[in-house]
Symmetry: C2
């Protein structure tokens, strides 16, 4: 693409470094800013820089936070005896949106993935083990996605926490609420039959 303007070219190139944004989309976005008041661009630029430079990771759960301890970890209305292990910050948001979990979180920062060169020591697993070793924790819920990497990570954590007197659970896999049984894949359907629950219990959370 020939831009005939270094300023435009520079803006498009920087924008196109974001994932899923190609040069054409970047051009559309940048030219859109031109139609808006200058303040909008200033606010966008400041919001991005402010976020990137001032955001911290909670010292307890590794969730992103504006302060030393995140809102969840500094709340006194949560149950400190149960920890939910998730891959990243977006999973915390997804689970918080369900309003079904009242314990604390532990953000791993990824999954064990030999292909991508991510080993256990690149994640916050050691920190989780020390938290559990410190006592006071009764249950650790593994809430990782159900992929090869997720299963590997689950198993690694299981081996690390086996020696402690802590209940290890994993979130239920099964048919999505609202899904037709005939269209479900057989692995999911199989698991949801093997792990069937008492009907009375299935009414919880409704």
């Amino acid at each position: 693409m020939d831009f005939s303007s270094k300023l435009l070219e520079n803006a498009v190139n920087e924008m196109a470094q974001l994932p899923g944004i190609g040069k054409r989309t970047a051009l559309r976005l940048v030219l859109h800013l031109l139609k808006r008041p200058k303040e909008q661009t200033t606010q966008l630029a400041q919001a991005l820089e402010g976020f990137r430079n001032e955001i911290r990771l909670c010292s307890n759960c590794h969730n992103i936070s504006d302060t030393e301890l995140c809102e969840i970890c500094s709340s006194n209305r949560r149950d400190g005896s149960i920890i939910c292990v998730v891959e990243d910050i977006r999973d915390v948001m997804a689970i918080e949106n369900t309003a079904q979990f009242k314990g604390f979180y532990h953000v791993l920062g990824g999954k064990i993935s030999p292909i991508e060169g991510i080993g256990p020591h690149d994640l916050t697993i050691e920190d989780l083990v020390q938290k559990v070793a410190g006592g006071g924790i009764e249950e650790v819920v593994l809430a990782l996605s159900s992929t090869m990497e997720g299963d590997t990570t689950n198993f690694y954590i299981y081996r690390q926490l086996q020696k402690f007197d802590v209940k290890l659970t994993t979130i239920a896999r099964g048919i999505s609420v609202g899904d037709e049984i005939e269209y479900a894949d057989e692995v999911t359907l199989g698991r949801s039959i093997v792990n069937r629950v008492l009907f009375a219990n299935s009414l919880k959370g409704l």
Copy 2:
């Protein structure tokens, strides 16, 4: 969405104001920046602000430009007797990429659209008329998109330029190069039959 971080929320909200970027995409983009060095965010922010605050419109053709006159208008290798009228800056880039046009451009800044409240005086049509009235221009090529608004704008310009001794042309409509004739829509196919060209002429530009 519950962000638990004002900095994150602010960044996502600003990002989600861009066209075609929803809250979820904005969150993905913003969290991506967190995985990259801080410099990348700084560069992005500076590139956007620099572009928005320093970019100018060429005083001759209204194309965007880093300088008073854009690269095209300040070139002495272009043909000043022919002007191509386009809707916006991206059209200039598209036509320049074809390397088939050696005249100057005139960027209207939009199309006449009563529905969106855009009248002739919101565009740079008056400026075009004065350019033509000033003399030295032999041909004006109308290169607007073939929509209701494009046709209206074409016709308005035609009426304004009628009184001058200038050739008014419009870009050819027809079957796209590489397209199958059987799948072409009938209006396009019809136009390409009515406006058929000498075979020898069709070899130009190849």
